[in-house]
Symmetry: C2
Subunit: 594 residues, 2 copies
Amino acid sequence: MAVYNAPLNDMRFILTDVFKAHEFWQNNENLAHVDMETVDMILEEMAKLSKNVLLPINRSGDEEGATFEGNGVVTTPTGFKEAYKQYAESGWVGLSGNSEYGGQGFPKMVTMLTEEMVFTANQSFALYPNLTVGATLCLNAAASEEQKQTYLEKMYNGEWAGTMCLTEPHAGTDLGIIKTKAVPNDDGSYDISGTKIFITGGEHDLTDNIIHLVLAKTPNAPEGSKGISLFVVPKFLVNEDGSLGERNTLAVGSIEHKMGIKASATCVMNFDNAKGWMVGAENTGLSSMFIMMNYERVTMGLQGLGGSELAYQNAALYANDRGQGRSDTQIQSPEKPADAIIHHADVRRMLLNAKANTEASRCFAMYVAKNLDAEKFSTDPEAAQAAAARVALLTPVAKAFLTDKALEATIDCQQVFGGHGYIREWGMEQIVRDTRIAQIYEGTNGIQALDLLGRKVAKNNGKYVTHFLGEIRDFVNNMQADHGIKQATLDAADTIEELTTTVLSNIGARKSEINGCAVDYMHAFGYLAYSYMFALMVEAANGKEGDFYTNKAKLADYFVGRILPRIDAHAQMVKAGSDPMMNFELNYFDVPAS
Amino acid sequence: MAVYNAPLNDMRFILTDVFKAHEFWQNNENLAHVDMETVDMILEEMAKLSKNVLLPINRSGDEEGATFEGNGVVTTPTGFKEAYKQYAESGWVGLSGNSEYGGQGFPKMVTMLTEEMVFTANQSFALYPNLTVGATLCLNAAASEEQKQTYLEKMYNGEWAGTMCLTEPHAGTDLGIIKTKAVPNDDGSYDISGTKIFITGGEHDLTDNIIHLVLAKTPNAPEGSKGISLFVVPKFLVNEDGSLGERNTLAVGSIEHKMGIKASATCVMNFDNAKGWMVGAENTGLSSMFIMMNYERVTMGLQGLGGSELAYQNAALYANDRGQGRSDTQIQSPEKPADAIIHHADVRRMLLNAKANTEASRCFAMYVAKNLDAEKFSTDPEAAQAAAARVALLTPVAKAFLTDKALEATIDCQQVFGGHGYIREWGMEQIVRDTRIAQIYEGTNGIQALDLLGRKVAKNNGKYVTHFLGEIRDFVNNMQADHGIKQATLDAADTIEELTTTVLSNIGARKSEINGCAVDYMHAFGYLAYSYMFALMVEAANGKEGDFYTNKAKLADYFVGRILPRIDAHAQMVKAGSDPMMNFELNYFDVPAS
């Protein structure tokens, strides 16, 4: 039903014209092995796989859902097993993996594009390999050599899957209060006991083994988040020769029935003295987890981008086909009883909201990916440090702003379909339901905003922001292109500078100021980031011939006139501060008496 | 699972303190029979019915859904039949009905509150009697005396249900191109043939008969919307003595599988030379339908309000219960591992967005209801005409703005639950799915916005708007209360005046200007309307003692500081006009080649 053709031209434009990936790779010895020809082939292969293998099982996967029969077995929907096999055997799971352990060593600038395609075609499917990749990132960064030898290769080649076991029934955002226990054994292993919830891919039928990364507390660990350790807890223990040994004492208790991503098994996992091994040093579990968090959070932004892209393509197709009423300018199809609705400015408004979102968010994700790669691969410590600071600042924006805007885009595109958008058969409502989760998991968007304004802005007194604003102003002031995006971006930069100063000056007097202003600050910041991205795209397209390039400037016009003004509303709301929330007594929020 | 206690105090505040319903009724002989004591009893009874009968079958109704077994039979979910029987036998369907035919003659100011409660407790259930009420409004206004005698009493007492059969597969927004035919018979009846889709309650097991109101074209009718007639087409023909006669040749073909309101049967209806009778004069079908449209559209606003209210109550309860992290100000529950999340300003932000929406939208719906009642019941023709103009202007806002803000509110409240908000069991995601439809049906919100800016503003050169702005400024300038809402409302009024002038001056040069600006104009207008409502509420609460009244001013503070600034963004976007959409060539919206 749904269509999806990967926007390879837009992707190549961002990769090469905007961010000059080839130069970046050539100038960096750790990435010199990456060549554009191979990358092109990779993108084309994934475009085919997404369209021909993953998209066809997207609707059916939603209808069927992952199922749990109560005996510890979770079954993925029809076709998922075969699709996963093809995906794994083609090497996609290990695309970014460490080449010392069988990975292919491609940078995030490449894998973000393949990840986007997988999320566009099938959000539920995407999560299975995605969690494995997250677990390998964590193991690669924090595990012992022996642990890496044991797990990484089979995870990279997709034979085994991985999970992240963080949340417990009473502990989500606040991981400091988890209860799962890890009691040491004499042989160096630990007995892990506790219940974890919302575990994506905690159990399924896609792989022979599932490697759980579990946060737990050792006996006498310090209270709160400083007393959390990380453990690797495989479903099947691994023998010395790498073959599968006995079944570990952990099992899925049930799976959740959810609003969307129904083909993704979201599991309650019970660990009952399950055998595990500590990863990294005791009580450093959270920081080990956070090594992969920056990647995961950007990837959640890509999930939003994928939802937005799929919604856009299908809404544009429908708007070109559906006849209803007549164009305001002139009759377009006199031979038909009505003109296609694409001629209505309001329909274009909805489509362009989505289109501007996909292009800006893809560009922004690539910008963050380039910084992630610079942080990871750069041989210049100063450059790596600067990139790390940029990643720290922008990761919460890449997660929260991209997914917030993506939900809006999917809703706009659903609206293009009128009543048909509400019918399951057409597939649009599934995109809305699937995309919604990306605002919630991997740290809610409210938490991301707090991370931005609290940790990344206020804690260093705005230093990271100041650097980012400096870069933006430098770039815009040196642009060759003559376009409204220049002044718009400079104004947006001024807005963020002013807001930052305002919030920093208020936090002494108002203890809830960061909490109360974070989300609106994050949105204002996001609009500045998008504006910068449009400036980068306009400049990259400047002087080049053809509709493809001139349309980049037109989309930037749309952004400036019809989207960016929202930044002023968010700025005003930040300035209004937290008092309007905190002035209420607690009992104001009581539910009316029955 | 979910809780719902009708906010009777808020309702009474709006009814009596803000809009002084008792005075309005006493001063109007056609409404002098309405007394506040009876109304109070009505509200309390509906509060109980909603909570005890309709809410308990809301989740189960979503899980089970309406079912179609392929033999023309549609079954409502478990408990719906019994609940409907109780609802009908208590006289709720005919509450607003014409008392000459067995209705109870209550004004919209009362029924809007009972409708809100039904929609809050169970959106799917609400639609069954709601469509019947719409059909009776239409029959009461346009049908012959004989038709009224035949149908109204049994529809008012709930023995028979009603539907509206407008949409066809190729004709939704554009009803001018419908194909359903009505061929006259010698006995004055017509043979109706065609397929209608998206027919809410087209078939079900709640009533003995279903009275379909069907739009169709007679032979040789003029093309387009001027050639549409309205017909009453009962499922079972009615004998002269009022008993049921033979089965008419119409049947449900299938029911839709939808994103939400799953317990509401959305039917494909096939009419195969079904016997029908014309209602009103030939070719006046659309205008007959529009008689009830103003009521229906306000009622869709109430559906949004209901979703917002249910989401708010449950999110507030959850936020008071769920412990996570610590308050920014001081530890609140030292005996527990975490404080309730209600202490976080960002959680309050989400709750207050919903709370401000429910209070403002309820107040606005009451304002429109009062005008609907003045139009219908006033003995002073001038007052009736002024009220009719106000209704015409505000109905699209009551439908579109209330439902757009409602979806945002339900999403905010779902977000309060974190991951649990995404799980079906908790019920929050259902509210989002159910509420979403209200933005789409009864004329999409884009169409409502076009109605506002095109027909209600541009066509009379802003006359209705000017009157409305005059009323607002008069009121605000005479307010006793000293509150920021005064200046905020005056500023908002200036914004709308300026936008109206701007759009009117641009439509000559830009043919797509109304289409391209309508939605943002509607949103800006909606914020002005809400601001005026808060001004009304602040003034009504002014000088009265107790938290209930001082909190009205605090909520208005929240609105001014943290919601109303959005009006400026929409104003800027209106000023940017339609060129940013229309500058693209048509082929820009082609899907990328595979």
